[in-house]
Symmetry: C2
């Protein structure tokens, strides 16, 4: 029952399109997975103990950008250049096989190994705008930009897409021939994201109650 | 712009209901977040380098169970008792504030720190059934159970819910008073999971084409 594959280096069955670490040749597939996610998980070890933190991010060219509090101990550790692992996983559904062992999930997962660095060729405000544009395209132009104090309170890190692996499981169940005779339904149950109706802030001035057009466009996005 | 909080120990603004590490007093809130997730991210350090892997799991009482390939190097490392971090994050929406800095996300995130151990008081097959029942309740009874060889190929780990932190951000934007005058819509855009229509396996015998009732029940589940 390999619900999700635990190790990018392990041997396992087919149907997971595996692009090895250190050699993600299909850059567009890697970019597509990173661009589809909204939250990633950043791993960092401190004195041998791992920590896994949810972070907002954006992929820009061959780099992932993310931000956090300048006061965060783990973020400062990342900024100092310790090894990190950044993983984005989009769950696309359940794979319902006739056996427990072949039951699994459809998913796309990108893993980036490396070291965070300071921003190259972009200011902190530009990096924050790029993260905002990934999550909320069109919104940045309308909202108040960060003040100098807010920028100081925000750490922004850059992780190059050098050492990456990509795992994609998109197919239905592949049961053993003998199991195909079992009297049980088999197939896939797809899963997508669904955006709800916008909920106005309690203190929203009725003069500004019109929902911006870009929000309608976001709601067309699926994972 | 604290889209997501980077460090469970950092100081930051309100609206994130923070239950400190080492003292999650509200066990039912912790359990609810772990029970809502389908995939978690397991962090483990190998020679000082962190790895973050997506894993299927189940919360059973005061324990998280997950499984992987017995052949996996990182899973063997976890089984040997090195420190791990297991994080489950459910994204509930975007928080659209009038400033970039206050823009953020609604989410629930549970982090469990500790050491995996061997199974206590349950067999490997029972643990696999418990993981299956979390993801696909009702299905285990219908499908072929793992063979001895399949059980051997599967590693199951148990992580006690001893050292945990929980972060929940559920409210709308909280803008600076001066920003509330800005002529921009503000509020929340909720996000949920949506299950699609079941897709039969290509080799499904038409005699077994009836969709099981439990699948209809799963489709009522939201995140």
């Amino acid at each position: 029952m390999e619900m999700l594959l635990a190790n990018p280096g392990s041997t396992e069955r087919t149907r997971v399109r595996r692009i090895p670490e250190l050699a993600v040749r299909d850059r567009s597939a890697l970019h597509a997975v990173l661009d589809a996610g909204l939250v990633g998980h950043l791993g960092v070890a401190d004195a041998g103990r791992p920590y896994v933190l949810p972070v907002a991010y954006a992929r820009v060219e061959e780099t992932v950008l993310f931000h956090g509090s300048s006061a965060s101990r783990l973020f400062r550790l990342c900024a100092a250049g310790v090894p990190v692992c950044f993983t984005v996983t989009e769950l696309d559904g359940l794979v319902l096989a006739r056996s427990a062992f072949e039951s699994s999930m459809n998913y796309r997962s990108a893993m980036v190994l490396g070291h965070c660095g300071v921003l190259h060729g972009r200011t902190k405000e530009r990096a924050l705008r790029q993260i905002s544009e990934h999550l909320m395209p069109g919104r940045w132009e309308e909202i108040r930009k960060p003040s100098a104090q807010e920028l100081k309170a925000t750490a922004v890190l850059e992780l190059p897409l050098d050492e990456c692996s990509l795992k994609i499981s998109a197919d239905g169940p592949s049961d053993e021939p003998a199991d195909r005779e079992l009297p049980v339904w088999a197939g896939r149950l797809p899963l997508t994201r669904q955006w709800g109706d916008p909920v106005p802030a309690e203190d929203l001035d009725p003069a500004h109650a019109r929902i911006p057009a870009y929000i309608d466009r976001w709601r067309q996005r699926t994972s």
